[in-house]
Amino acid sequence: MKVHLRYGFACLAVLTLLYVLSLPAGAQNSESTIKVMPPGGPAPRMADGHPDLSGLWLPNSAGQGVSGRFGVDPLARRQFDPKVTPEEPPSFQPWALAKIKAMTPTELELSKSSVNCMPRGVPAIWLQNPYSTQLVSTPGQLVQLFEVLNNFRVIPTDGRPHTRYPEPLFQGEGVGRWEGDTLVVDGISFDERTYITPNGWFHSDALHVVERYTRPSMNYLIVEITVEDPKVLTKPWKSAPRRWTLTNDHINEFYCTNNHELDELQKLRTQELESKGK
């Protein structure tokens, strides 16, 4: 019993230490100079009366870059507060969970778009993307320009149906419609090489993604994602409403042409396989 208690305390201590180490540097600072951006005035509207989603958006609550900076209010780093809008983990089918858990840390790393420079795809580009996204909203169409890897997407928003024979694409086939002030984008036909999140969450050809976009105020864009994948998940997964903030910065070029990381991790993978005698 004594040993179990000590073991429990040791577990708690290790988890606490890992949690503290995982906090952004700013979370451990007492003085913050970069704070949560105020919501601003009402959202602009397009000529057709729908909200204008145009702008350069950053995946944080600061309206400016927060990585690599000191003095950032931890709230300004966040896209949502898990205490207010908790996000359930995905519920995997046993075979899918076993497949994910069988990946070594190096294999997991090699699967990440941020390492292998493959397009993130939808919905990962809205769930795990530390860089800016430029939206150009016009009546009937939404253009998304992703800074990361120079990816782009053009989504019709006139309520048209999916095409009869869509081909698998990294961004899938997305068609949009307005439900009041919410733009709903329905996505199907995704390339199976993409991951939903960079923790091994793969998907099947049955993946169906629904994106909901709202602009509740001038400075805030809210993106909410629903993932349905009956071949991999036991039930649909819904993201928290994630806040993106308007920035007056500009979008950068990002061609992935000098990827040492991929080579280094592949060497590590080879070493792992050799040590296992495979």
Partner: protein, 134 residues
């Protein structure tokens, strides 16, 4: 010894528990670099390699015997550096000058290669140029 065993088992348990929580980290520093093998480097900045997805800078570093070795260090993505106000020109202006950097070595044993974390040029300002943890 007993404590070490308990702590070791706790680390393994913690490791098994953590993946159950979805992690949305960009990518893992710990997969490529060894957070338990970090050190301070002081040397002369010799060149930079300013291309995506990461920047690299090179330093001549003297070892304990006075032998000069060239080291390369990985930085954050260039966009991250730029948004943090760390421009390429700052590195260019410091070529040939002394630099201090905290770095962690590659896990695959590659020689003279590390991830950079904090850095100081001759202006003495502490800058975060890379991640030294997940």
């Amino acid at each position: 010894m007993k404590i070490a065993r308990i702590l070791g088992a706790a680390v393994i348990t913690a490791g098994l528990l953590l993946p159950a929580v979805p992690s949305f980290a960009h990518h893992s520093f710990a997969a490529e670099f060894d957070a338990t093998n970090c050190r301070d480097f002081t040397g002369t900045l010799t060149k930079i390699d300013w291309q995506n997805p990461h920047g690299y800078f090179y330093m001549d570093v003297k070892d304990a015997n006075g032998k000069v070795e060239s080291w390369s260090f990985q930085t954050y993505a260039l966009i991250t550096l730029k948004r943090a106000g760390i421009e390429r020109q700052l590195f260019i202006d410091n070529i040939g000058k002394e630099v201090w950097v905290r770095g962690c070595l590659a896990r695959n044993g590659r020689q003279n290669y590390a991830a950079s974390g904090t850095l100081k040029f001759s202006d003495g300002i502490l800058r975060q140029v890379g991640q030294l943890q997940d």
